[in-house]
Subunit: 242 residues, 2 copies
DNA sequence: GACAATTGCTTGCATCGTACGCAGTGAGCA
DNA sequence: TGCTCACTGCGTACGATGCAAGCAATTGTC
């Protein structure tokens, strides 16, 4: 009946340090410093560019030395995730604002973080949030949707939907390579079978998919607001119907 | 000004074969056979277990021989994806049924496929759908949501939201390891700071997160229907408001 | 029967995560 | 002062991975 363990590095994020070493050389690195460098690397060159060797190289050390601070690469990813999320930053809610405005603010803030670190949505986790900042975001989300008056179970479920929407949106923006997206309609036109998929075929004829990504434009993008309104509208129906 | 290329294997999926070889040994494998085996491997042991070597081994060949059929591993993944999607299978729509019932059927059918091949939602693609079956699903989705009477642009956007929801749901079900999920609340309790995240803390006290995954139960699950109703309800508001 | 196209395979390379063990460091105690 | 030993960063090694290049065997065409 062993107590389930939280990794050393994650415990350190919560400020829980086991007995500090009293002898031996002073550590030359630190978990936060490693996380900072790894996050910068992921921001600049993508998540695939993050390897134990590449992170260590940026710090002027060897790959193996990182293992003195982090148990495994998954552990490093957890720490990176927490650093990238960062503390929740929400505009102070105006008194009188309803849950919908709070939920909108939360989703926008999460979008902001995810756009700053697009690799965030690609990190695969083996358990729900366990680090202080990611739990912090969850906490803020629960609080925002708590204003709906729904039961705690439904609030949690709704938050999963909303969170899932924001991540889906970010994934859509970054999953496809610039070239893959630009040449997609041309390539699809070169193989598509009008008989088998007439609806897509007609949409191609009408250039429905040929809208180029807006470099400039409002923030958040119209596409994000479009989906957000759908999700929040659906939750609103749920609230009214209960 | 080179024409953007579609890979050999994907063209073959559409039935477009370039000049069949007239000389030399008969091919011992085929792209569909490779895809079948790779899909089975992914179903049984997960996407990470799919390597050129492991797939080839199951077929009784060497890793390098696969490259005679498939350009790169990404190419293999595209072919696997198409095989896993398979043809769209929707119940015949009852006359008089509205778009909402059509959209529900589409989402359920997609859920069914994604649950049969959970790795489906983890395959990273570099461009939107390009293979016959994935385009087929897109086609069916556009047709289902076409009944809303929304403009083609909004239909396409709505489909992205709906598709994103189904994938998010499947990802939630399979992202976390069984152990990671089971021990999560215990581990979180061992580190959480009541002051920093009081809402999560209270939810933990109330055992809100301790519902165990239902092994038996309705299909689709209540959780899926919950989110689906939110998304479709949001789209409905959009339809009514336009 | 010579040629050429096409097969599956062998070899080799760079990169990955990480297990293992060594040498040097420096605080605490004799 | 010097010994001990926990602790550091590092070098080496192993098994995977995706894939480039070239080889030998096979098959159809001339």
């Amino acid at each position: 009946m062993a107590e389930p363990e939280v990794s050393r590095a994650v415990r350190a994020l919560w400020g829980i340090h086991d007995a500090v070493p009293r002898r031996g050389p002073k550590p030359a690195m630190s978990v936060p410093a490693i996380a900072r460098v790894a996050v910068a690397l992921a921001d600049e060159e993508g998540l695939d560019a993050v390897s134990m060797a590449s992170v260590a190289k940026r710090l002027g050390f060897t790959a193996m030395s990182l293992y003195r601070y982090v148990d495994t690469k998954d552990d490093l990813l957890q720490v990176m995730l927490d650093a990238a999320y960062g503390p929740v930053t929400l505009p102070a809610p105006e008194p009188g604002d309803g849950w919908r405005s709070a939920a909108t603010a939360w989703a926008r803030a999460l979008l902001d973080r995810c756009l700053a670190h697009p690799w965030l949505v690609d990190v695969r986790m083996s358990s729900p949030p366990l680090t202080p900042h990611s739990v912090g975001w969850m906490d803020a989300g629960l609080r925002a949707l708590g204003g709906t008056g729904l039961g705690p179970q439904q609030v949690a479920s709704s938050l999963l939907i909303l969170d899932g929407y924001v991540r889906s949106h970010v994934r859509l923006l970054h999953e496809y390579s610039e070239e893959g997206l630009r040449t997609w309609s041309t390539r699809l036109r070169s193989v598509i079978d009008e008989e088998a998929t007439p609806t897509v075929w007609m949409a191609l004829q009408a250039d429905v998919f040929d809208d180029e990504p807006a470099e400039e434009g409002p923030w958040p993008s119209d596409d994000f607001v479009f989906g957000l309104e759908i999700v929040l509208g659906g939750i609103e129906q749920l609230v009214e119907g209960s």
